[in-house]
Symmetry: C2
Subunit: 221 residues, 2 copies
């Protein structure tokens, strides 16, 4: 498993997709899969799948294909899901609390360990048995209770400040739900869920399509 160079983003983005698909195949009790069959299922070329998988090593077998459980397990390890990840959430508004209540995470080794919010009305309340702590205790708490991942779901105006604070308390991975492009040392990994970007990408394609069909009509008439 040679990891001497940073894996291209294009490949990294497909890894969870492979993982998800392999889990489906496993649930269907499929034992083996060829790059061609997997490609057909995912809408990728067989070549790309072999290329991607080989980035991490030869998990297949010539003339046979890939063992579904084995490949699933390998990708699970590559994704780091064989470990437990402790997660804290800052900002328990709509999205923050939805994440706090999301049960599926547990299955993949994620453990919600603390919730923080700045609103007096929320502090002290419980979500899934976990008490909401005052946001101004975040740094202190993190120093004593390290987490692997911080979920950032505060109002935009506090996002940068709180992220920087968390990083100074040792956080090295942020799952960012605010529409803010965080500026942090590049020793910190950030995964953005820019919800409105994703919604706008949808309206863009919808709009683009309408223009297309209009101009098609134009040509026909």
């Amino acid at each position: 498993m040679d990891m001497s160079e940073r894996v291209p983003d294009a490949v990294a983005r497909r890894l969870p997709w492979y993982y998800r698909t392999l889990r489906e195949l496993e649930a269907e009790e499929t034992q083996r899969v060829s790059s061609q069959a997997l490609g057909r299922r995912m809408g990728l070329t067989a070549s790309q799948i072999r290329q991607d998988i080989n980035y991490f090593g030869g998990f297949g077998q010539q003339g046979y294909g890939y063992s579904v459980p084995r490949l699933r397990q390998c990708i699970e390890q590559i994704l780091g899901l064989d470990r437990t990840h402790r997660i804290a959430i800052v900002g328990v508004g709509n999205i923050g609390s939805a994440i706090a209540r999301y049960p599926e995470f547990h299955r993949d080794g994620f453990e919600m360990v603390a919730l923080f919010d700045a609103s007096e009305a929320r502090i002290g309340n419980k979500i899934e048995g976990l008490e909401i702590l005052p946001a101004d205790q975040l740094k202190q708490w993190l120093l004593q209770n390290p987490v692997q991942i911080l979920v950032l779901a505060t109002p935009s105006e506090y996002a940068q400040e709180i992220a920087a604070e968390a990083v100074s308390a040792g956080v090295r991975a942020i799952w960012n739900f605010t529409p803010v492009d965080l500026s942090l040392p590049d020793t910190v990994e950030v995964s953005n869920v820019h919800l409105s970007d994703s919604l706008m990408a949808l309206t863009f394609r919808l709009h683009e399509r309408e223009i297309h069909s209009r101009s098609e009509k134009w040509i026909r008439e």
Copy 2:
């Protein structure tokens, strides 16, 4: 504005980002911006920004740069945000109800018009003044009240079925929060928010980094 070819995904993904940044600049009352200045701010090359913008036409002015309000407005139009988009949500669990309560959408012309759920316990309840309707009335309702966008936030096992139903009732854009790769006619636009994929991309990079630093040590010692 030549749109004879489909805009590459790479460009489409950056459009909402440009829009967001231009809005920030506008809020800071910046009147003009050069591709270089915008590039520095966003971490892109000036060249790429000019290339991207020119995909849609010459909105700049030689020797001056781009007018921030004008460019913002142009991209707003390109994204289709000058129109109103009616949205319905199916599945008002954690994520569905978080989306239903998200206030920011209104600003960009999105209007939440209906909520659906299959659970007896939820039907009849209200979120933001909107009553939750039985999911089995979805198709009927959509036929009478067309929406531009359907938010899909049901349990995975119903996602494909409900999406197909909505499409047969005229829906042409789906904002998909389920971890399912929907299979729909390509006349339908889908924007996926695969939350666990995004979380796993984070653990992958975190893990990858650890391997790096370990092997660095290895070399040093």
